[in-house]
Amino acid sequence: MIDVEAALVARARKPGQFVIIGVSDDYGERVPLTIAGVDAEKGTIRLIFQRVGKTTAEMADMKVGSDLGYVAGPLGNPTHIEKFGTVVCVGGGIGNAPLLPIATAMKAAGNELISILGARTKELVILEDEFAAISDELVVITDDGSHGRKGLVTEPLKEICQRKPQPDLVVVIGPAIMMKFCCETTRPFGVHTEVSLNTIMVDGTGMCGGCRVEVGGKTKFVCVDGPEFDGHEVNFDLMMRRLGAYKAQEQRAHEQYKEHRCKIGLDD
């Protein structure tokens, strides 16, 4: 987790939006990251990310006070917030971070808020206290049962959908596979389900088409049309394939970064 000084982004951003960051001002990877929070007074935004590739590893190794290359944003359309009635917010792993501002805004708009936080294991459950403070009901669930219930988020989600009255809206942010199964869970109940997609991106302004996804049989661009879409319309299978596209190369860049660090006598 890092806080980044970006006064203009901090001032403009709304729940659901993201930024694109790069660690060197010159040439390198541009990575989209969701905004987990903001301190408007200090002019900082909070980014929470996992070490997955070279850029995020470099960011994780930064010392307080160092310069991040650049931050552009806020990008994407803000979440539509209004009083729907009962809103279920489902977060998977790191997805809890962008979910928190949305959940907070939903609660503030007068909704009854149910939060479901899922993770592989206890250590990966983040922001639990923050969610506890705003939720009318909170379910924590881990794959291995090391914290909260044991199982997958789809189980409590299904139970909640079975209640009468049904929830009015479900918002899911997490790994693509988890969003896909949440949508399959809510589909038979006809509960509107919003998902926030985190695709490959380059410019974030609607120029490159790298962020394209298929929604309702049409090509949509996450950076200008999204990032939130009706989950029942999203073709997750295509999206997951495209997300897999750069895995191998990212791995390679990350390996080289680690090697380089070893050579200069740092651990990783």
Binding site: Y27, Y70, A72, G73, G204, G206, T219, L238, G244
Partner: protein, 488 residues
């Protein structure tokens, strides 16, 4: 003295005596552009066309007849006094030549390299007409580049008028934005350029590759702006970071120029376009250029597929650039698939020529039917159809029609789609009251003013996909109107 030098001296002497006849000018051989070797350049990104030597430039300039009517000027979108600048080169007065060009064009080093001269000034050149071949006309573009490149920059920066206290915001740092910045700054306004990317320059840096337009040239132009006192703010996405409304109502900007360029890439709408290994040309070129993907693993860490067999769809400059970039990124086989014939290709002739020299296989009168993938969703091939030319369509070009049953499959692992762009939707979506046409392009009047007061626009966002020179021309028009508006 070499033979050519002697020849030039003789020609000059005759000209000075008023005795050089047109027939003698016609005999001067058209000067070829020195280029990097076709094989060697496949594995480097250095500029392909190396530029005229002084002798070549002066001989080429001597071919110009100095026509009274100068039909070349009519073909130039910004009406450069071509006959005069070419004449100055023949006389060896290069500074004079550059000054003449700069009266009308601010980016001669760029335009000399990327303008489609064969359909502009050179199309109407009398010498080309005489040989019934526009490529045999005076090489105006190469001469323009020659003088621009000789300008080592004596450090002189255009004069800036005393401060007016007015603030101008420019959205996008492409050629249009650069020109508006220079012209409005010269008038003494306080000018800020907002750019979404982390590097300024627009398509000239993230689209057109290094081997055709070295980034240093664009950087020089940006440096001039900075020296003039223009502020350039990168990583600023207008419409998101701040809206135009906020810039004008809250941040004190008195006038705005929108030069955000073309937007969302078009796809074919065929099966398989979501497979891994299918890119829009914009994505592919941006990754390769701006992020130096060709240095992947040595300091630059953009992931880009290491493609071996590539199909590029399209026949314009963007398609040529993609194909030639693929070659340089190490592809063994690059096909350029175009559904019309070579004559209809909108790309610059020189690029088509260079692409062929670099071993790109032209598959004309063919069009993909679907892209084939493997179980994991990676591209493994493309099924195409053969086409023939039918009746002329609205554009006057003969319409390509598919030949039934002519399906065949080519073996590729990457497909790059370069069939054009639609308008960038972001500014339209976030600016109430801004009039757009049905394609989403911004509507402007002859002064490049939009439906909003104080807001001007030009370049690809107005024209659809256009050219550097047209964007520059609109920038000039808009800047003049903005200066007038701000003075009033």
């Amino acid at each position: 003295m070499t033979d050519d030098e002697k020849y030039l001296q003789e020609l000059l002497a005759k000209e000075a005596a008023g005795e050089l006849k047109p027939s003698e000018r016609f005999k001067i051989p058209a000067q070829d552009m020195p280029t990097q070797d076709g094989v060697a350049r496949r594995s480097n990104i250095n500029e392909v066309a190396e530029g005229y030597t002084e002798l070549e430039a002066r001989l080429e300039a001597m071919r110009c007849l100095r026509c009274k009517t100068a039909p070349c000027i009519k073909g130039c979108p910004v009406k450069i006094r071509i006959d005069d600048f070419v004449g100055a080169i023949a006389q060896g007065q290069y500074d004079e030549a550059l000054a003449i060009i700069k009266e009308n064009s601010l980016l001669p080093a760029v335009c000399g390299r990327v303008c489609p001269q064969e359909v502009q000034c050179q199309e109407t050149c009398t010498v080309g007409k005489k040989f019934k071949d526009p490529t045999q006309g005076v090489s105006i573009g190469r001469l323009e580049r020659f003088v621009a490149d000789r300008d080592t920059g004596d450090g002189s920066v255009p004069k800036v008028a005393p401060p007016t206290g007015k603030k101008v915001a420019i959205i996008g740092s492409g050629p249009g934005g650069i020109v508006v910045a220079a012209d409005t700054r010269r008038a003494g306004h306080d000018v800020t350029v907002f750019e979404a990317f982390h590097k300024p320059g627009g398509v000239m840096v993230y689209g057109i590759p290094e081997f055709r337009l070295p980034k240093a040239i664009v950087q020089d132009e940006i440096d001039v702006l900075t020296k003039m006192g223009v502020e350039i703010v990168c990583n600023f996405v207008v419409g998101r970071t701040r809206t135009i409304e906020q810039l004008m109502n809250e941040d004190g900007f008195d006038a705005v120029y929108i030069g955000v360029g073309a937007g969302l890439p078009r796809f074919m709408g065929i099966d398989g376009e979501h497979l891994v290994g299918v890119y829009s040309a914009n994505e592919y070129l941006t990754r390769a250029n701006l992020m130096k993907a060709y240095k992947f693993g040595e300091g630059s860490d953009t992931p880009i597929a290491m493609s071996k067999k590539v199909a590029v769809l399209g026949g314009g400059n963007v398609a040529m650039d993609s194909a030639r970039t693929a070659v340089r990124l190490g592809a063994e086989k690059v096909y350029l698939v175009y559904r019309r014939s070579e004559k209809e290709m909108p790309a610059r002739i020189e690029e088509v020529h260079h692409a062929k020299e670099e071993g790109i296989e032209f598959c004309i009168l063919q069009n993909p039917k679907r892209i084939l993938g493997d179980d994991e969703g990676y591209v493994v091939g493309m099924e195409c159809l053969k086409y023939e030319l039918g009746e002329p369509d609205d554009s006057g070009r003969r319409r390509p029609v598919p030949i039934e049953g002519s399906e065949f499959t080519i073996d590729v692992d990457t497909v790059i789609v370069a069939i054009g762009n639609s308008a960038n939707p972001l500014i339209g979506q976030t600016t109430p009251g801004l009039e757009l046409n049905k394609w989403g392009n911004i509507v402007v009047d002859e002064k490049c003013k939009t439906s909003l007061d104080g807001v001007y626009a030009g370049g690809d966002i107005v024209l659809g996909a256009a050219t550097v020179i047209l964007a520059m021309g609109q920038g000039r028009t808009a800047a003049a109107a903005m200066n007038e508006y701000l003075a009033g």
